[in-house]
Structures are given as C-alpha cells and as structure tokens.
C-alpha cells in the first residue's frame, strides 16, 4: 500500500498521568503506581491509533519526560540538569555528561514490547540520535563534540540492536539537531552511520525546524532508509528543493502543524498531500505530523491525527480512481 500513515513520536500525556508524574517526583506515589498509569495511557494511545486506522504506530512516549533527558536518566555517566528554556514558556532539562557513557541495559525495549503486544500493526522503536544527544547535552567530561557524539553512538547502537532482536521492524533515530550546522554533517553521518550499520529493520530519522537549503544534499545521503521531515510549519518551503533535485529516499512528510491549537481542515491536509505528490511518488511518501504532538492537548492531538488519516484515505481513493 502507498501513502502509509504514521506518527513522529510523542503524544500528550493525559492529565491524570501528568499529575502522577508530578506526585512521583515529590515521592508521593510509588514507581509501580506511576508505571500503571503509563501503561494505561500507552494502551489508550495504541487503541486510538488503531481506531483511526493509522498504519505504523508509536507507543506515544508516555514514560518519557523529554526526548534527550529520558536517555540521560538511563545511562551511566549522565545526569539531568536543571531547567532551561526551549521557547516561549516551555522549559526542559538537559542531559549533563559527567563521565564515560555506558548503558546499564536495554532502555526502551521493554516499553516497545509492551506496546507491540497490544496491536498487530507495526510499532516503531523510537530513539534519540547520537548527534542530537551530543548537541543537546552539557559536556563536563569528553571535551570534544566528536568524542561525545561517538560515545552516544556506541550506546544507541546497542539499543538499536536490542530493539531489532526484539522484533522491531521500524527503528527511528531522531536527529532534530542536525538541521542547523552544515559544517558538522560529516559528524552526523559518522555517528548515525555507526548506529545504523548493518541493521535490517527499516531505519528512519526525523528532523525539524531548520534551514534545509544548505543541508539538502546531505539529507539525501543520510545513512537511513527514510527521512521524516517537518514541512507544514515552514509553509512547505522544502518542496522547491525536492522539485529542483529529486529526493532518493522515502520521505515521511509532515502535514500537521504541531505548534498550533488550530485544527487543520481535511481539505488543507489533502492539499498538502497533493503538493507532496507533485515531487514524490506515493510508494516513497508517508504521511505524518510535523513533529511529536506532546505539546497539544489529548483532544487536539486526536483531532489532528484523525483529520490526517481521513484526508490521506481520500487521497488514496483519488489515486486509485486514476489507476
């Protein structure tokens, strides 16, 4: 089937889980009580994704605070810093590397197994890439961006291989930080290439919110099978680049702006898909939101995903009618 639908990664945590995380941080509830709510929320998101007929699912990351700090919390040699500002009134905690990085054991495999057991549809394994982990960390140990990125690459590769052994058919290694330093693309290639080398599962990387003009040729050579791109927030600017120089890989194309409360209309999403089809064949085009939806409310995220899938189905029908 062409025009498969998927999601980039995170969904919003339901209010009861948000409250529970706060209470857990204050030591008011046990880890088991928190885990029960994380499992409940994961189950609900898997059911929701099945209910709208999404093709490739995610676990929604109900157990993660932030995409970088979650991994820092689970690695020896890393800690979590205090809050720093991301944008507007949003803050996050950054990894703080204070020693040699080592994985204590599988980090995400247990959660992937839990989510995959809930559905017959494929669930993506979701990891944060070595370049992004490096770029978004404070470094008090390695003293070199390359050394730190390759140290992260070693532990992330271990996680990729464990996910593959567990049966993951799709493994996404997010690199949102790659979009801003063209001079470091060789490092991105080396680190991401180390992570994905020889992996049989379909490998994906997601990036967003950058100026791709200078990076376009490098994006096409990234050592993954599929590149997942934010498109709608930037007004589909990247389409001109696709037109000038056809993109050789699968593209997961963001048709939903994740940073606005406004719900896209089905017609708007269909228009974005049609414009994507002008430059990419349907068999290499997947449809998804620009980025994770964790900053929206549960209701907003569900409405946006439902519109996205409904619009994609109508475009699929149009394509089928044309033969």
């Amino acid at each position: 089937m062409s025009l498969l639908t998927t999601h980039v990664g995170s969904y919003p945590k339901p209010p009861e889980l948000q409250r529970a995380r706060t209470r857990f941080s204050r030591k008011e509830i046990s880890a088991a009580a928190l885990r029960a709510l994380e499992e409940k929320a994961t189950r609900e998101w898997i059911l929701f994704q099945e209910s709208i007929d999404l093709d490739i699912l995610v676990d929604g990351e109900m157990y993660r605070g932030d995409m970088a700090t979650y991994f820092a919390e689970n690695l020896d040699g890393a800690q979590v810093s205090g809050l720093v500002r991301s944008y507007g009134n949003r803050y996050y905690k950054k990894p703080l590397v204070t020693g040699e990085l080592r994985r204590r054991g599988p980090i995400t495999v247990d959660w992937w197994r839990f989510a995959q057991a809930l559905t017959t549809r494929p669930v993506k394994g979701m990891l944060t890439g070595p370049y992004t982990m490096m770029d978004w960390s404070f470094d008090e140990h390695y003293g070199s961006r390359r050394d730190l990125a390759m140290a992260f690459a070693r532990v992330i590769r271990e996680e990729v291989l464990d996910l593959e052994r567990a049966g993951a058919k799709y493994i996404q290694v997010d690199e949102p930080a790659l979009s801003v330093r063209a001079d470091e693309m060789p490092l991105v290639h080396d680190a991401l290439g180390f992570v994905t080398k020889g992996v049989k599962a379909k490998t994906i990387t997601h990036t967003c919110f950058g100026n791709y003009e200078a990076l376009y040729a490098d994006l096409a050579r990234l050592p993954v099978d599929q590149v997942d791109l934010e498109m709608s927030n930037s007004g589909l600017d990247l389409l001109d680049l696709f037109r000038r120089s056809p993109f050789p890989k699968e593209v997961a194309f963001g048709v939903i702006d994740v940073h606005t409360h406004v719900l896209e209309t089905k017609d708007l999403v269909k228009e974005r898909i049609r414009r994507a089809l002008e430059v990419l064949p349907p068999e290499r085009l997947l449809i998804d939101p620009d980025c994770g939806l964790k900053t929206r409310t549960v209701e907003e995220a569900q409405a946006k995903m439902a519109v996205m899938v409904a619009a994609t189905k109508e475009i699929r029908a149009e394509l089928a009618a044309k033969g």
């Binding site: 205090g82 500002r85 944008y87 507007g88 919110f209």
Partner: protein, 324 residues
C-alpha cells in the same frame, strides 16, 4: 576589569519560588490573570535577576531580558509591519524563535525595550545595559515581503531601530548593545551593517554603544567591525575562539567586551585562567576599556549554574585587575 553578562539571564529556576513567572505566563495565556498581573510578575523576575548580578559583584547589569518572547519576535512585535508566525530554530541551539513575516516596511510606533529599562533603573543603582537585536539578524530570521529580499529588509529596519536606540539613550541607558549574532555567519560585512552603525551612533547620546557578535567567530571581518562607529565590540571567544589569533594581531582604541565565560556549557571555568587570558588580550590589543562578559545568553544554562557563572565572571574580572 569591569564585568557584566552579555544579555539575558534565566527567568526561572528549579525551585517553586523561582518559577513564579512561568506560572504567571501560563495563567495569563489561560486568561486567568491580567496584563498588569503578568507585568508585575515580570518585574519580580527582573528584580531577582538584577539582585543576583549585583550580589555577584558585576559592574554593569541587565534586566535579564525576562520579558522578551525571544531575541527576534520581541522586537518585531513592537515594530509596525510584521506578523509573527511559526517556530524557527535559533542558530545551532535547541531553542526557537517565532519567525516574523514582513507585511511591508517596518515602522517605529513606540519604544519597545524602554519600559523594561526604566523599571530596571528604578531597581538598581548599577549602570544598566539595554539590548536591541540588530537589523542584520532580525532580517535574517524574518520572512521578507513577497518579492522582497533579506538585504532590503535589513536596510528597512535601520531607521526604526535607530529610533529605539534614541529612545533608550533618552531613558538613561548606560550601555546600548546591538546584538548581531548573524555577523558570525557572513564572510563579508553586509553594507547594511555599516549604515546601521552610523545611524545608531547618531542616536546613542551619551551611552556606550556596543556591537555584540556570538554563536561563532568573526576573524574574517574583524578589521571591518573595528572600523564601524561603535564604542565597543563584544566578541564571543568561546564558540568563536577562532577569532582569538586575529584579535591578538590588532591594536584598537575601542572598548573590547571579552566574552570568555562559556554561557552554553555547565563546566565552570577557573577564574585565574580566564583572568590571565583577559590580561593577555588587553596587553595585545591595547584596548583602553576592557570588559569581561559571557559568551552568550545565560538562559542556555540552568539558573543555579548561571549563578555560579556570575561568580566566576566577577572573580575573573577582579583577578584581571580593577573591577568590584
């Protein structure tokens, strides 16, 4: 040697008390508190930022820029002629600005940064530095009108920003800093940067006018920057360490704000090492007005670490000679 932070300071911290502004913004967004309530919360945050700089012993302080949305849209929201649109990554950071989209030539309607400066001046006896993002950077991170160019937009921004500089000078800013981080991304100095410097120099009154570059080095354009009619240059010598050899080769009558304290990493510098580097640069360049500062906004650090950096900054300046 005198010392102060480059521009912004963390507006929240990790304790519940230090998160008052965050809560106030959230409640304002939900319509639960008024504009005045939010302004009051910003003022409290600004007072804390000033107090922490004073407690560290810094000579020149800022209000922490705690009311700024971001370094780009904060100015664009206050000028006429812009809509504010989607998120755009800010240089090579994991932070974002709202991208302004020009509807037409930008216009000056009323002072944008002056109320915060006036409030800060009422809260401290120390000289207060005001910050304005410059036209090259504002244009680079904005979307020009259809058919327009970034270069044209940069030129169009000079006059309204010069009005802002004039208003800041009239309001008593001791230092007016024009932030142009985008100049670290160019090989040749844009002509608009020269015209802007001339316009700002005419508007600055008795304030010290500083051009600040960060997120990289400027070795290729350093002689051009030194020829601009700014009183001082603030140079990122951490992420922009490649500027150091070029800087050691120049002699200048300008003030040099030596940004030797890393504002993007938590590792703490040794004050004596920074002091020696600063002294060596003063000796090499002959600058008559050396100033020690941070390489970037301290908002890139958790507040507790930012406080430690303030102490390192002040101690390094003391060891370098003069200062508090």
């Amino acid at each position: 040697m005198r010392a102060g932070i480059l521009n912004a300071y963390p507006r929240i911290g990790d304790t519940p008390e230090e998160q008052a502004l965050r809560r106030a913004i959230a409640r304002h967004d939900e319509g639960e508190i008024s504009d005045q309530d939010l302004a009051d919360a910003q003022q409290v945050a600004s007072r804390l930022a000033l107090q922490e700089q004073e407690a560290a012993g810094l000579d020149v302080v800022t209000d922490g820029l705690v009311g700024w949305h971001d370094p780009v849209s904060h100015l664009a929201r206050g000028l006429g002629g812009f809509d504010v649109t989607g998120l755009l990554r800010w240089f090579d950071t994991n932070t974002y600005i709202r991208q302004p989209a020009a509807r037409g030539p930008p216009t000056f309607t009323s002072p944008i940064t002056v109320p915060a400066l006036e409030a800060a001046r009422r809260m401290t006896r120390r000289p207060v530095k005001a910050v304005v993002t410059g036209p090259i950077t504002l244009a680079a991170y904005s979307r020009p009108v259809d058919g327009g160019s970034t270069e044209r937009l940069a030129y169009d921004l000079i006059a309204p920003l010069a009005e802002e500089v004039r208003a800041l000078a009239a309001a008593g800013a001791a230092v007016i800093q024009v932030d142009e981080p985008s100049l670290t991304q160019v090989r040749r100095l844009p002509a608009a940067a020269t015209d802007a410097a001339t316009a700002f120099a005419r508007a600055k009154g008795g304030a010290e006018l500083v051009l600040a570059t960060y997120f990289g080095g400027v070795s290729g354009i350093l002689p051009d920057l030194l020829s601009l009619p700014y009183d001082s240059l603030a140079l990122d010598l951490v992420q922009g360490a490649e500027t150091l050899p070029a800087l050691r080769r120049v002699r200048t009558e300008k003030g040099l704000h030596l940004a030797l304290i890393d504002a993007r990493n938590t590792r703490l510098e040794v004050p004596a090492v920074i002091a020696k580097e600063a002294r060596d640069l003063v000796a090499a360049t002959g600058t008559p007005r050396p100033f020690l500062t941070t390489s970037n906004s301290l908002e890139f650090l958790p507040r507790a670490k930012a406080r430690e950096k303030l102490r390192v900054l002040a101690e390094a300046a003391r060891l370098a000679g003069g200062g508090p």
